[in-house]
Symmetry: D2
Subunit: 337 residues, 4 copies
């Protein structure tokens, strides 16, 4: 296919291995943006382009110049309002993003952080470095097992699914809150669908894996936290906007719950932010999905779907923007990193 | 049954819930040691005892006084040379220990520590507390996924099996070195049996889960560590005697490998031990198995097997001492905590 | 929503339980076709309809009369050329079919028939009824285990996926041929993607689970069958058109392979069809998916997706017609029953 | 080791592959019985024998002649009263039998027969041969899914465990009745322990996988069958003595339950036995475990344990006779084939 390639802010080396880059360039007619004036570049090449890879504006005007366009690949993996989605849907142009590449890294990290919370691995390690560790049972008074415990997952998208798969051997009862999925659908997956309030109250481990929309921002607030069991574990893995961080800090500081978070209201978190000094929080500087090998898989999945589309088949390796949900994400990014 | 009950150093509250204690005392005729002279106590009660719960010496002389004895339960869960095992085996007295209760806690901790090593969860948390954390990809240059990786397990006893079960969703290739088990036996479990040297060389994650005998003490030495892949992860979960800690410290300090250890040559580790200052080690003060709820399960399993033995059935919930292997453990404890 | 309900040839009692029917009628404004002239009925009600449930023609003219239409639900679960799909896609009207309800019944039946072939359960039962059964090892000379064996799946859609899930405990190596899916995608599922020819040659069990298009009709022909291993097992579960039945009968009669089939070139198969007298075939009169409880789930999933669409969310419980593939199915039905 | 080898009624070709036979003979000093007087043969060779492979009498007198004996391997896999077990246990002689080799073949067959019952695969196949098959839903009025259903397993030994493993993807609730195992033990396996009566009443699928003792013979009698749900499925896989076949035939003939059986009160079942004419029974002439490849594994596991014993380690690949249970089996064989 004739492909406009303008992956910024991703670099080619980040998303494609040398072999994949060779494959990409030999298989497709790649027209790469190389610093020139973008309007001129797009004006010149859209008329023949079948695919666009990148995050540049694709408004109605640009789309109108691209009569052969079949797919736009967002390799930053966010569906932002840079595109006239309605026009794409009307014309059957796929808008896809390989956001699923982050699901497994985030799920592994979530599981690792959950066990770290439950057993205070990070805390006793830090104490050890200070010579203040507690040996054997003395350091385990508040430890608990994940096996046989209760788990609540908020949001059963890519992240939630990947986490669910890792939980299989632990024989936990898993509750899910996801208002975008039917209860029967969740039950057929072996899950127990519950309202948000019950999920907060009935689980030792609560994982926040949801994308953020205008509807669920701040849902993990004072009231929700008050429902949690004493000493229960809260893991914030998807978006900082899901939580009221003041309430979170309060609950952690009081020893009401244990908290792990990979996301923060401001990143990097200012050095003088009081959150840094709250005990009972496992801090992770937005590293759950940010894995080099996940970035590389962006290119892999992009190539897979370009190949399918070239062959007249629907894409399967990337996620597609959908009429109903893309609008809800317009004001903020849909997936991590 | 008539039961001599002398669980020291375990306390009743540690190993039995109040309901279980009631059940125990109502179901059996419990003769509890309460601080009196032990020789006199045993001399008085062995003649009618069907079960002994405890870790006191049971030499030939005491056994000869106990013609009705059917079982000795070691609730410390170690098979130490306090017992004349040969005489027990000859007479059909079961010697059992519910050591399996520690398997799941240790396995969960091992998995949690493995993910923590692979993603540096503990390290970036500690850095965060110091205000030196690295955000997003910057802190992830050396991170790796467990999913799809290679795992070697040294020792496929209770601990190794419990860990293996938790690894199922990660789709890892698992190699095992366990000279006490036939290769075909391991293959039937879906494992790849390999010699020790190959195991050290061919895996990103190496878990030491073996009991220690005179034969394998110090096996994780300089030569073995040199076989490991650059940046591979070593987790020492069972016994400190398995490793040469000087070599371990050297390899970790040089950045050759990443190390996590739950056991130490001396515990507590002296404050001035240079090991404490070695970078690249995740320290855990012997907490992997030392879980309150694991202790409680000691009592549960003890009661289960007493019940079976009373009904003329073989015990299944505790592990039994065996003629061939108990001798090999005589000089040191067999299982953790 | 305002719903035109015309499920023929399905009946309401088949697809909805009494409770679900009540829910359906109370929740939506249901306008049911009751035998009147269909053109008049549709002309009258399309202008206000938001949903159409049924298999009646929805050409451009009818669609033009339905400005509020948001979804067409095909409860026969086939995507036939009765609809102007392009216009639906252009306007964002979902065309959905709950064909997934048949996947689990077909997968269970496929597994049961595979074990029956491998162990000749049906054959020895029939022999038993005639007093000609062979006892113990005598009747087992050609039996084989599924566990640890090799399995090839042709078509990794709903049916193939459901079968794959059931195979997990058998520790089989699974190869897949599915030209609509990228190799990397299949590998991420733990499968080995292979060309069709290798799949036929390298597996003891070959399951045909593919939908039929003009491209793959007759693919299980003389040449493909000749590649199969002596005594290997072929299970035809999706569409008769996938196979050349003369070649199939020949291979089975010669004892080259064992065959099970749930589908036939003509159904019911004429009484004098010579296929009926071919030994070495396990016959099933198109019963794999035709389960009463599967039909009921059609209604369940239809209600789930109507609810989502009403709430402005994308459907998830039914499958959606897709621009690229619906065209390929136009000449024949896409899924079973 | 010095091994007396007298496997009758098994033949060497049955239990050892050519390579394994070579290994066996090169590794051990094999003294094979070749038709001579057995008393003289044993008298001559027992004094130096470390292992005996076979089913010949090993009473006190013979054991007294065998001071170096370490293991007796029963390759017929039954623990019969041909041995003075007490004396073996006293002296630490292992008595082992690789009966576990039949577990997987029986479990696969049980699953295959269960699906065949639930879907009437065998019945419609037989009807097809007669030209009386019913197509699509017509033949499925009484079909049911295993997925999501309820399963009861009687006897959680090797057979029951192997079956349990295969059921994992079906998401069934599994109840177990096994009076030799503690309830807590079963719960830790994810099973629900229940009394026999509840098991019969609360499951759609009941699998009889138990060894037979004087205590449970005839347990599947008129009263137990009356507890079963209308149309439920009963699978008799272990021993005919578990059931009252008159009651079984009555319940099947009346259409009360569906029955599959691999075992019969007399084998071969006489041609004029009325059981042969009872409708609603899936007949299997004792073929579930009788697989050529299972026999071969007898030799494999025997060699594995001989190797361990020679190295001073306990056997793990065969099952060991136990003081408590071997007595209960004395009057009849313990495991299948």
């Amino acid at each position: 296919m004739r492909v406009i390639y303008d992956p910024e802010p991703r670099s080619t080396a980040e998303i494609l291995s040398p072999q994949e880059e060779r494959l990409f360039r030999s298989r497709h007619e790649v027209i790469e943006w190389q610093g020139e004036d973008r309007d001129a570049f797009y004006a010149a090449h859209l008329p023949e382009a079948e695919a666009v890879i990148g995050q540049q504006p694709m408004d109605r005007e640009r789309l109108d110049r691209a009569p052969k366009l079949r797919v736009i690949v967002n390799v930053e993996t966010n569906f932002l309002p840079n595109i006239d989605y309605e026009e794409c849907f009307r014309r059957g142009i796929h808008v896809i993003a390989p956001g699923g590449v982050f699901a497994l890294p985030v799920a592994e990290m979530a599981l690792g952080m959950a066990i770290s919370l439950a057993r205070n691995i990070h805390g006793e390690h830090a104490a050890f470095l200070r010579g203040q560790e507690r040996w054997l049972f003395a350091g385990n008074r508040e430890s608990e097992l994940l096996s046989g415990s209760t788990v609540g997952i908020i949001g059963y998208g890519d992240l939630g699914r990947a986490l669910h798969a890792l939980l299989a051997p632990f024989r936990v009862r898993v509750q899910v809150f996801d208002p975008w999925l039917p209860e029967g659908y969740l039950r057929r997956m072996g899950l127990e669908p519950v309202p948000f309030e019950r999920l907060m109250a009935e689980n030792r481990f609560v994982f926040v894996m949801a994308a953020i929309t205008t509807e669920n921002a701040g849902m993990i607030g004072r009231e929700a936290l008050a429902r949690m069991q004493q000493g229960a574990n809260l893991l914030l893995m998807s978006r900082a906007a899901a939580a009221d961080f003041d309430a979170l800090a309060e609950a952690a500081a009081a020893g009401r719950i244990r908290v792990a978070t990979d996301v923060f209201p401001v990143e990097p978190l200012p050095q003088d932010d009081p959150l840094r000094r709250v005990p009972g929080i496992l801090f992770s500087p937005h590293r759950a999905g940010a894995l080099t090998q996940a970035l590389r898989e962006i290119g892999t999945r992009m190539l897979e779907d370009l190949d399918l589309i070239e062959r007249g088949l629907p894409p399967v390796s990337c996620r597609r923007a959908e009429r109903e949900t893309v609008a809800r994400f317009r004001s903020m990014p849909v997936s991590k990193s």
